[in-house]
Symmetry: C2
Subunit: 466 residues, 2 copies
C-alpha cells in the first residue's frame, strides 16, 4: 500500500485525461476452484489496485467526472463472516487510507449506474477478462452478455495505459522488491538442481520462496528440462545428466507488483560444448537488446536486432544460411525464436495485457502484426523514461515446428534443415531480465544473477553468489 | 488416472440411476488471474474427473440416455498452441483411455443440445459454481443468466452424490496417497516452527511439499498463530514463544484427490499448562467422535457427542456451567465450537460441496439446520461403508463473538463470562484426521501423526516420528 497521496494523484491525473462521464472500476471477486468456497489465492484487479489500492474481494468503484464524485461500493462483514475471517477494519476506514471518503453498499451500484445512464452520462468500463466481469457488467448495465465486450471504452483504456505505463518512484521500489525475491527463487533453483531430482522438486522450492516472502508467484513458474516448450507447466520429469533446466519464474509481492526472470543452466556443473554454443548466441542477443534500451527507441527495432543476432549466430554455426537481414525480414528466425523479445511489467507480469496488446504495446500509427512470431511481440512502441520491461530472447528447437516448416518447404533459403536434425532433441534456452528505462538508457532491476555461460558454470560449481 | 473399466463402470451405474434424458457435464476452463492468459493452476471439475477422467481445460461431455451415446466435446491443438504447450496427444486417443469412443468439436455441443431439446429430451445439469459455468449454460441452453441456477436437476445431483459418496478401492488408494503427502506437510511445519520465523515461512514450506509431490494443496493452507480465526489466510505474523501454531492443510495429488488434516502445536517445545488443558479437551472430543464412526451411525449425533465432550471439559475448567446436555441443546457450545465436526472428502476437500450440502450431507428426512453453528455442519446423515470423512473438533476463543453474546445476554446459564475474560487472547485449537468408514467401524487414513498433547510435545522435542 502506498501513501494516500499517491492514489489521489493517480486518480487526479486520470480525471484530467478523461474529462467527462462515469468511470466504472470492477474489483475482482473470489474464484472457486472446485466449489464456491474453496477459492484460488485472491487477486484484485490490477487497475483497481492502481487507482484504489484495496485488495479485498467484492469491491467496485466509480469516478463520476460530471459530479466530481468517487465512491467505493462494498459491504462490511457480519459476525458470521468474522468467525471465519477474523476482525477486519471497516471499509470506510480502509477507503479513507486511499483518499476515498465515500463508501456505499454493493447493491447501490446498479442504481447509481442506471441513474447516470438516465441522465445521459457515458459509462466507461475496461475489457472484461474473467467470466465474472462479463456477468457483472451484463447485470449492471443491462446488456446481453455477448454485447458487453463491444461496449468497452477505448478512451478509458488509453488513459489507463498512459498512466500505468510510466512507473513512479514508489512503484519502482515495489517492483525492485519483487525482482529481489525473484532472484532468490532463481538462486534456489540453481543451487539445488541435480540429477535425480524432479522438475517438481525445483518447482516447489521456488514456489516456497515466493509464498514465504510475498503474495504468490507472478505467474505459474515454468521449470522444465524441455525449454523448447514456451509455456511448459508439466513438472513430472526427472533431471538427468546432460539436461538443461529452463527456469522462468517471478514473485508477486504483497502490493501486487511482479518480477519475471529466466535462466537456463545445465544439470551438470558445466554446459556441453553444443549447449554453450547456443547459449552464447542467446546471450549475445540479450546483450545487444539490453544495450539498445533508451527513451525514444522503438522496441520493435530492439526485437529485430535481437532476432538478427540469433540469425547471425546460427548462421555461423551452420544451422542457418544466406543474408541475416533478409532472413529476419522473411521471418526465418521464427523457426528458433517464436515469440516476442519482451513485455512491460508492473502490477501484471505482462503489464496491462487485459487492456489489449495493441493499446499497451503499440500506437495508432504502429499496429501489432498478426504474423506468427510477431503476434506475440507484446511491445513495439517507443520506450519512455519510467517504463519497466523485460528482455528475453531465446532459441528453441521445436521438433513439431521444424517438421511442419520443412514439409511446407518454408525458409529453404535460410534454414539448413539437414544440419538441424542434430538439434531435434536439444531443447531450448532463454535469458530474461527486468529493465527500467532511465533518462538516457536503462537500469537492470534487482541484483545481478549469473548470466553469461561462464558465470552460470561458475555458480553451479561454487554456489557462490556474484 | 484409473483403469478404463473404472470410468465405464461409473458411467454405467449413473445411467442405471438416471434412466432417461441428456446428462450435461461441464468441464472447467482456465481461469485468468489478472489477465486472460495468466491463469490459476488448472483444476478440472471434480464430477467431470469422476466420470471422464480427463484433466484438460475446455472440455464438456454428454451422456445421452435416450440414444445410449457418450460424447466428449473439445478441440485439438493447432501448431500455434503446440509452440506454447508442447505436443499433446489427440483428444480421441485420450478419450479412448477413459472408454469414450466419440469425440466432437466444441462448437457442436450447442447444436446437439438444441436438437435434443427440440426432440423433447430433458437436459440435466449440475449447479454452476463458477461464473464461467453460468455463462456457458446460459449460452448452451439459451437461458437468461439469472435463470440458470433455477433449472439444475435434483435427480442428477442425487445420482452423482449417491455414487461419489462411496469410494472404490482405487479411490481409497488415491486418497491415502494424498493423506500421506498431507502428513509430510504437517511433519515439516512441526519440525521447522520456532520463534522468529513467520507464518509465511511455514506456509511456503508446506506449499512446497504439496507442489513437489502432487498437483497442489487441496485448499489454501491455514497456518496461523490465531487459530481462533477459522479460515485465516493472513500469514504475516511472527511466531513468538508461548504462541500456538494451528496448521490446517492438505495435499491434492495428480489424480485430483484430497487430504485434509489439522494439528495445533506450541512454538515452545511444550504447551503451557493452560494450553494443555484446552488441548486435552479437544483431543477427548476428537477421540469420542472417532470411536463412534461406523455404518448407520448418524453423523449429526457424532457431532453432538463431540460438542458435549467440549462442554463437559469446559465445565470442569469453570468456563461453562450447568447441565452439559442442556448446554448443547441450547447451542451454548457454539461459543467455542462454531462449526461442524467434519465433512466428506474425496475429489473435493469438502466433497461435492458444489452440489449442495443438503443433498450431500443430509437426506429428504434429515434437513440441514440454518442455525449458527449447525449451518456449517456439512454432514448429518447416516454413515455408510466406503465413505471418507474428516473429524475435526476444535475450541476457539473469538473475542468478537464473546463480546457479542455477552452483550446479548445469551447463554447466561451455561457460560461463565467472567472467567472467560482470562481466555480472550488464548487463540484456538483444532485436531483433524481423515477416516474411512469400514464394514464395522472406521480406519484412520494415512500415517499416524502425533496427536495427543504428549505426542506433540515429544515430537517437538525429539523431531522423531511416531
Amino acid at each position: 500500500m502506498f501513501l494516500t497521496e499517491e492514489y489521489k494523484t493517480r486518480r487526479k491525473k486520470l480525471k484530467e485525461l478523461m474529462g467527462s462521464g462515469v468511470l466504472l472500476f470492477l474489483g475482482n471477486g473470489e474464484c472457486g476452484i472446485n466449489f464456491k468456497h474453496n477459492t484460488y489465492p485472491y487477486r484484485q484487479d490490477s487497475t483497481f489496485i492502481y487507482f484504489f489500492g484495496l485488495q479485498l474481494a467484492g469491491l467496485n468503484a466509480i469516478i463520476d467526472l460530471d459530479n466530481d464524485t468517487e465512491i467505493i461500493f462494498g459491504d462490511n462483514l457480519s459476525i458470521d463472516d468474522v468467525v471465519f475471517t477474523g476482525p477486519i477494519r471497516s471499509l470506510e476506514e480502509q477507503a479513507n487510507e486511499v483518499g476515498v471518503s465515500s463508501v456505499s453498499p454493493s447493491k447501490m451500484l446498479e442504481e447509481y449506474l442506471s441513474a447516470a445512464n438516465d441522465k445521459g452520462q457515458q459509462i466507461h468500463f475496461l475489457p472484461p477478462y474473467r467470466p465474472e466481469h462479463i456477468l457483472k457488467l451484463s447485470e449492471l448495465l443491462n446488456l446481453p452478455s455477448d454485447e458487453v465486450s463491444k461496449n468497452v471504452s477505448a478512451e478509458f483504456i488509453k488513459a489507463v495505459v498512459k498512466l500505468r505505463s510510466i512507473k513512479s518512484d514508489a512503484e519502482i521500489e515495489e517492483i525492485e522488491k519483487a525482482v529481489h525475491t525473484t532472484a532468490e527463487m532463481h538462486y534456489k533453483a540453481m543451487e539445488m538442481a541435480e540429477a535425480g531430482l524432479t522438475e517438481a522438486d525445483l518447482f516447489g522450492a521456488v514456489q516456497n520462496i515466493a509464498m514465504a516472502n510475498g503474495n504468490n508467484t507472478s505467474f505459474p513458474s515454468i521449470i522444465t528440462i524441455n525449454g523448447q516448450i514456451l509455456h511448459n507447466h508439466y513438472r513430472g520429469n526427472l533431471l538427468k545428466e546432460g539436461d538443461m533446466v529452463l527456469c522462468d519464474c517471478g514473485a508477486e509481492n504483497f502490493s501486487g507488483y511482479a518480477g519475471d526472470m529466466t535462466r537456463t543452466f545445465p544439470v551438470n556443473k558445466t554446459f556441453s560444448a553444443k549447449q554453450k554454443e547456443i547459449y552464447d548466441i542467446v546471450y549475445k542477443s540479450y546483450k545487444t537488446a539490453a544495450e539498445m534500451l533508451r527513451p525514444k527507441q522503438l522496441f520493435r527495432d530492439v526485437h529485430l536486432a535481437a532476432c538478427k543476432e540469433i540469425v547471425v549466430g546460427l548462421t555461423e554455426l551452420g544451422l542457418m544460411k544466406g543474408d541475416p537481414d533478409k532472413a529476419v525480414e522473411a521471418g526465418a528466425h521464427t523457426m528458433f525464436f517464436q515469440c516476442g523479445l519482451g513485455h512491460m511489467m508492473g502490477l501484471d507480469v505482462h503489464d496491462m495485457e487485459n487492456l489489449g496488446e495493441q493499446y499497451v504495446g503499440y500506437t495508432d500509427e504502429l499496429k501489432q502484426s498478426k504474423e506468427f512470431g510477431f503476434k506475440s511481440l507484446r511491445m513495439g512502441r517507443a520506450l519512455e523514461e519510467g517504463m519497466v520491461l523485460t528482455v528475453e530472447p531465446g532459441i528453441y528447437f521445436i521438433p513439431e515446428l521444424m517438421e511442419l516448416r520443412k514439409s511446407e518447404n518454408k525458409f529453404m533459403d535460410f534454414v539448413n534443415y539437414e544440419r538441424l536434425e542434430e538439434y531435434k532433441n536439444f531443447g531450448g534456452i532463454r535469458i530474461e531480465d527486468d529493465f527500467l528505462i532511465t533518462n538516457d538508457g536503462s537500469r537492470i532491476l534487482g541484483p545481478k544473477l549469473p548470466t553469461t555461460s561462464e558465470e552460470i558454470e561458475e555458480f553451479r560449481n561454487s554456489k557462490k553468489r556474484l
